[in-house]
């Protein structure tokens, strides 16, 4: 009996083992042979339901390096916070690295704000206190004129973030303002149910045309790109806003704003049949900055992020890059101004969207940093060679033509100040306050000290900072704008905290997981979490030194 029992037990054990082996053999036949699926590869057949749960890949989680830390608010910083922060290692020699990152020749300004700078921040914030509409939470673009764009709304958000981080406002006010704004955006009437209209009435939140009358005129990919940059900044810095932000962005239809070629497309309305016309939007400088905004949300904008086609022109010994697309053919001007390069530096640190680890002195989007340095250098050279204090950008002016592109180069002319319709308007050349502050923050040089002195008192304490100082001595541009004051505050925030975009906090996002059970993601061209293969490449371009 004992023997029989042992035999049965042995048989049972054998059967169990055999069953287990059989189950393993039949149910998991190739488990050990599974190759990790990489998005975009031939093996990318992961069901759509599962793709949203994959984590977005950044430098930190791919290479295992520590991500940058989110800096504390200025009022919470220890006194020794900035000790050694600008002590760059010896290897930080100016120029491109082997990985096409770039080390700039000039250091940014870092440290606590002085009383004078703090006063500037408070005055700039006054603009938004004065001109934010209670009904919608939107801020006027220009003074009390009740309209705004997404570009200028992003500037308002930059001012709001700066005000909070610089301890000008506290969290209750910050939350009230940003939630009001996001709620308004959640309900905005889109341009033909696609993307936000170019202009909105700030009091009513309705779509308007350029004369602020009800109507729709299309959408701007550049404006949306900048808005996306600040949505990502908000979401990374304040994860509790994530759902609100995702709800806003998930309403939009991205099927036309990003082409399959990786370019960005704006839209306008055909005069002939009222249909929607999509046209490539963006020129060198603005295009790459806006493209990075889309890339921060997982879109493939490889071609838009590339500098090519571009040309250079020599101005004061600097090879100034400008867009190589012929305006006569493409009917779009190639203005070279400071603004987009400043915003890339202040907000993104001239880093690639996936780079959350590189130190402040190393810019992984190398050619952007190098081009920005040229843009700075040519303006400094003009000052030292011609005497013209120069900090050029696009800016509003008082009265007609209301807006000018105060360019470093455009239409074949250096220092060309042109109106939107193409008139040469040198009388409107100016030291733009926002450009001066931005250059002051990113380049700690004697020249930016001069710029700083020129604009630091250029304000009305009750209203905000003026737009700028006319180059030809006509005085102050007595107009106040959201863009000017917002960028100014971002520049001051950069001095305290460095690049404003902080690393992704990790974890899944509704932005990637929503609508997985329906075709909405396909119809709206919503992206999947970016994987390493989706990263924008780090490129480099020939410098003047290399040519020599």
């Amino acid at each position: 009996m004992l023997g029989l029992g042992m035999a049965v037990a042995a048989l049972s054990a054998a059967a169990l083992s055999l069953g287990s082996m059989a189950r393993d053999a039949f149910l998991y036949p190739k488990e050990k042979e599974i190759v990790p699926i990489i998005a975009g590869s031939e093996l990318d057949d992961v069901p759509a339901l599962m793709r949203g749960s994959r984590r977005s890949e950044f430098n930190s989680n791919v290479f295992g390096s520590a991500p940058r830390s989110k800096p504390p608010r200025m009022c919470e910083m220890p006194e020794d916070y900035f000790d050694g922060i600008l002590d760059y290692p010896e290897k930080a020699t100016p120029g491109y690295t082997r990985r096409n990152a770039y080390v700039r020749r000039y250091k940014p300004r870092r440290g606590f704000l002085t009383e004078r700078e703090m006063q500037a921040a408070r005055v700039a914030w006054r603009y938004f206190q004065n001109f934010t509409q209670e009904t919608t939470g939107l801020a006027n673009s220009v003074g009390n004129y009740p309209s705004t764009t997404l570009w200028d709304t992003a500037s308002y958000i930059s001012g709001l973030v700066a005000a909070y981080e610089l301890c000008i406002v506290e969290k209750p006010e910050f939350d009230e303002r940003i939630l009001k704004l996001l709620t308004t955006f959640r309900g905005l009437d889109l341009f033909r149910r696609e993307m936000p209209n170019k202009v909105y009435h700030t009091k009513t939140g309705e779509k308007v045309d350029y004369t602020n009358k009800s109507g729709e005129i299309g959408f701007s990919a550049l404006d949306i790109g900048r808005f996306l940059v600040w949505m990502r900044i908000l979401k990374n810095r304040y994860p509790y806003l994530g759902n609100s932000i995702d709800a806003v962005l998930l309403r939009w239809d991205y099927s036309n704003v990003i082409g399959e070629d990786g370019l960005m497309y704006g839209s306008l309305i055909s005069k002939e049949d009222n249909s929607t016309i999509y046209a490539q939007e963006g020129r060198l400088g603005y295009e790459e900055y806006a493209a990075k905004g889309f890339a921060l949300w997982g879109f493939n904008v490889r071609l838009a992020h590339r500098a090519e086609p571009y040309l250079t022109t020599s101005i004061h010994g600097v090879m100034v890059p400008y867009d190589g697309r012929d305006p006569r053919i493409f009917h779009s001007q190639n203005y070279v101004v400071t603004e987009s390069y400043l915003q890339d530096g202040l907000e993104l640190g001239y880093d690639l969207p996936h780079d959350d680890t590189s130190p402040d002195w190393l810019h992984s989007d190398g050619w952007r940093a190098e081009f920005a340095e040229r843009i700075y250098q040519v303006q400094e050279n003009r000052y030292y060679r011609e005497g013209f204090m120069t900090a050029r950008s696009e800016h509003n002016v008082k009265g007609p033509p209301y807006f000018t592109y105060d360019t470093i180069f455009s239409d074949g002319y250096p220092w060309n100040t042109v109106t939107p319709r193409g008139d040469y308007s040198p009388d409107h050349a100016a030291v733009a306050t926002k450009a001066a502050f931005g250059m002051w923050a990113l380049w700690d040089t004697p020249y930016t000290d001069v710029l700083y002195d020129a604009v630091i008192e250029l304000f009305n304490p009750e209203v905000g900072f003026y737009e700028g100082l006319y180059e030809r001595g006509q005085g102050i541009i007595e107009i106040y704008t959201a863009n000017n004051n917002g960028i100014l505050m971002a520049a001051l925030l950069h001095k305290v905290q460095g690049p404003i975009l902080t690393p992704h906090p990790g974890g899944p996002e509704v932005w990637y997981t929503a609508y997985r059970d329906r075709d909405a993601r396909v119809r709206k061209n919503l992206p999947d979490p970016p994987q390493q293969e989706d990263w924008l490449p780090a490129l480099r371009h020939v410098t003047l030194e290399e040519i020599r």
Binding site: C75, S141, G399, D423, E478
Partner: protein
Amino acid sequence: MALEKISVAAAMLAVSLPFHALGQAQPAQDQGQQFSADDAILDTSILFAIGAHQAEQTLRSAFGWATFQEGLVDGVYFRFDPDGYARFAQNPRLDQDAFEVVCAPRSRVCAAKKGELEVALTPRSEIQITVAGAQEKDAFSVTDGQTELPLPPRVFQPLDIRLETILAAGGELIVRRDGNDFRRIPLLGFNAVATYLRWVASGQDSTVFPRGWPVPSEPVRLTGAAQPAFQQPTQPQQPQVPAYQQIAQQRQQVVSQGAPQSQQPQPVAVAAQESAPAQPQQPVAAPAQDGNMAASITQLQAQLEELSKMMVRNGGVSPNPAPPAMVPQGQPVQPVVHGQIPHNVPQTIYPQGNPAHQGYPPQQVQPNAQGQWQGTRLPAQGSQDWNAYRDLLAARRAGTQLPRHQMPGQNVPGAQYPHQYPAQQHPMHQHPVQQQLPEQQPDMQPNPEIDQQTNSTERRLEALFARLNEIESRGGTPQSLTIHQQINPLTGGKTKQPAGMEADPAPSGSRQQLQPGSTDGSTSYGSVSPMDARIERLEEMLSRLLAERQPEPSEDRVDLGAGVYIERELVEEIIAELDGEIGIAGTLQPVLDPVQPLTPTEQMAPGKSETKAKAQSGSASPEEDEFKTLKDYLSNVLSKEEAIGN
């Protein structure tokens, strides 16, 4: 420590500036310079010249004009926005040597500026220039690079046809001080700018274009083009006759600061009345005109023009219209009358500034036989006569309008006297009954003769000199035509001078000497029978037009026959209109020397001037009583002229 201070300060600020500050009253920021859709006064799809086109602006801001118009005309490139902001320059970049035009918000009051030169339009659609920094002792001249023509000081008054033509011919305006060049201002684009100012003031009416202008075949309205606000019901009514001082001040703000100071609608019209109550306002055509009435008006206009041409042919005088009244040298620059006064009647001036502030009534100024100016005061403001005068004007404004004011599209003051050589005189704008030009081809048919006259100063001068020689050959004495001997800095000699121009001007020239045709026996037009037929025709049309409006006889009205009466002043004005079309340009005007500026009215028919003044003053005279009918009146006037001519 510093950080603590900052933190404390920030915290205090945060407490003191709660979020509900969102709703606080916005500061009284001067945002008047900001963009306003209501500032749109132009439809950029209506072309200013052949070859122009509407384009879209590259906007990145939250507001602005979505469209503009650009083109090339009269040798200059131009671009303008819906709010009238425009630039004119030889270079397509519109950068160097450019006229910049800025319009006062929500009005058609515009001014152009190039350097120190500022060009504006008076409410009577006359060009008036100013030169910043110019002084009284400065000398002004125009040069085309070879010859130089001195300009009289009245160049700073509203320009007459001759001065405007000279300036429009191009060249350079030279301001000399103590014998040295103080300013040299290129005049390239002057003609285009002047035309543009009139075009804007007239509401983009192509009839204001001068001869030779490449007028587009028809207004081209593109689908979806931005419509100017003035076409929208919410648009506030355009100020019709703003006070010129206020306009100038507003314009100065606009030009010097880039924008006016207030975003609110400018109460220009109200202010004009307040500041210059003595200035009668231009009557405004009723917005909706009866179609038959408009057709009749057009016919009447054509009849008038044809009548004038006939009289010109019979009288042997030039059809050029008259210049406005001139003020002799030494007289202060006078403000412009904003009333319904034709060019050939005395102008109202204010002897000591604005009567609203000085207490002086406006003064009628006219030259006497010696070329000296004398004034006839209008009734004092507030007096019974003044009230009667004002009522008279009000009645005229209300409904008794001259037919020419009812021309379609001419609903603004600037369009009523668009130019001394208005486009209506151009074949392409004349009534089809007269011209019978096919609709497809009239646009590009500039008159080569006019081109020759207007395209350069030299040609204009040559024409003028030829005209003088012609007069002189007939035995007339060009007494008032004197050219100052001008030393040409390049040649050291005199500039071109016509034969006989160095003769000492006779200060007491008789009217007989002034009358063209008076010595060569040419036929005067007083007794030409075809003209009588025309007058009868005119009577009929006036009777038909005005019968229903003025049925009641009155001392102030003239019997047209069949129990139809019209206001005497209207008759006066028609006479004045006829004068302007007929005789004045044929007479000699002191183009170059204002020492003896006999007005055309003085030269041609002094009696009419007197009558006009009396009519305006509300007084009656035995002479007026003689003219019971229009025919009588016209016959009397013409017989007087005939007597003068003989």
